[in-house]
């Protein structure tokens, strides 16, 4: 039963990856839709970022002083000016670790 669930989940996931690439003709999308598609990264990724920063493991809002919030602010500023993926992630993690291991201990 578990195997069947994995296989069906795999088919469903694969379909979501494949449908727009292989089954839809781009001519079918109007210019307005194509314009809106420019915003896909801006529309998708914050929906992963915000809950990851503002909720804890139990789905409750973190406090405004949570280390994740400070880490994100540092990453945001460093990322904005450096335009580097590595610098963004590393600065976020290091500042987060700095707070939880040095300041809060």
């Amino acid at each position: 039963m578990t195997w069947l669930s994995i296989i069906i989940s795999g088919i469903v996931t694969y379909f979501s990856r494949m449908a727009m690439v292989a089954l839809i003709d781009r001519e079918m999308l109007g210019t307005k839709v194509k314009e809106v598609l420019n915003y896909v990264p801006a529309a998708v990724f914050p929906a992963i970022i915000f809950p990851g920063v503002f909720f804890n493991d139990f789905g409750l809002f973190v406090e405004i002083t949570d280390p994740k919030i400070y880490g994100s602010i540092v990453a945001l500023v460093v990322g904005f000016y450096s335009r580097s993926v590595i610098a963004t992630i590393v600065s976020g993690l290091l500042s987060y670790w700095f707070i939880i291991f040095l300041l809060l201990k």
Binding site: T2, W3, L4, S5, I6, I7, I8, S9, G10, V12, T13, Y14, S16, R17, M18, A19, M20, V21, A22, I24, R26, K32, K34, E35, V36, L37, Y39, V40, P41, A42, A43, V44, F45, P46, A47, I48, I49, F50, P51, G52, F55, G59, K68, G71, S72, A75, L76, G79, F80, R83, S84, V85, I86, T88, I89, V90, G92, L93, W97, I100
Partner: protein, 228 residues
């Protein structure tokens, strides 16, 4: 003109920084599967067959918690439906491929690969063989994902939980969009999506992951209309 292998290599290099979060996440995913009591082969099968980090964890957590298969499958489908949006964007660069090639490359469409491909290909519209870039990002992420989940399965969670490496996940996505903060229209769409996700977080089947982008894209649509 860039050769196919050079474009492929550029794709590989573009996603390498994201390994900082992908590899720990993969290890955690493998380790969680074992902790939940699943057969190692089964845990690995989720990486091979489903191939989508967050959805694999939710899938195993739901099943081990006694949820029905239908609920588990629905959740995976809902979480992964965002790939429809990635496909719609990438289809611009993949439309000339044969049907078979489209079917193969689709398997490798992943968050970070999509984001980096989209960023690069938008600036290099006249590139011949843009699909090699997509493939370079996707294949790299695929290998690292497979290897890291396998090591999580075998070694368990050897990354101390105190490190809080889960925080690397929002960071990797922040790194993806941080450059677009220079464009006010994008910032507006990001804020709509972010706040929508906080409001919709408890919607069933983790549907905030697809509902928030839909709300944000509708907002983008309205914004574009008002601009004209």
């Amino acid at each position: 003109m860039l050769s196919k292998s050079k474009i492929f290599f550029k794709g590989i290099v573009a996603v390498l920084p994201h390994m900082l979060s992908v590899i720990p996440f993969g290890i955690i995913t493998g380790a969680i599967g074992i902790e939940l009591g699943f057969n190692p082969i089964l845990v690995y099968a989720t990486s091979l067959i489903i191939f989508g980090g967050a959805s694999q964890i939710i899938f195993m957590q739901l099943l081990s918690g006694g949820a029905s298969s239908l609920v588990a499958i629905t959740s995976v489908g809902v979480i992964n439906s965002r790939h429809l949006l990635y496909g719609a964007v990438l289809s611009e660069y993949l439309e000339k491929l044969s049907f078979i090639k489209k079917l193969i490359i689709s398997y490798f469409i992943v968050d970070q690969g999509f984001a980096e491909s989209n960023k690069y290909l938008r600036q290099n519209k006249n590139l011949s063989n843009p699909h090699y870039y997509v493939l370079g990002t996707g294949v790299t992420l695929w290998f690292c994902w497979q290897l890291s989940t396998i090591s999580g399965i075998i070694l368990g969670s050897f990354i101390p939980e105190e490190l809080g490496l889960k925080f690397a996940i929002p960071l990797t996505f922040l790194a993806i969009i941080v450059n677009d903060l220079r464009k006010l229209d994008h910032v507006f769409v990001m804020l709509v999506s972010g706040f929508a996700s906080l409001i919709l977080f408890n919607a069933p089947f983790k549907s905030y992951i697809i509902l928030s982008p839909i709300v944000a894209l509708i907002a983008a649509f309205i914004m574009l209309r008002l601009k004209k």
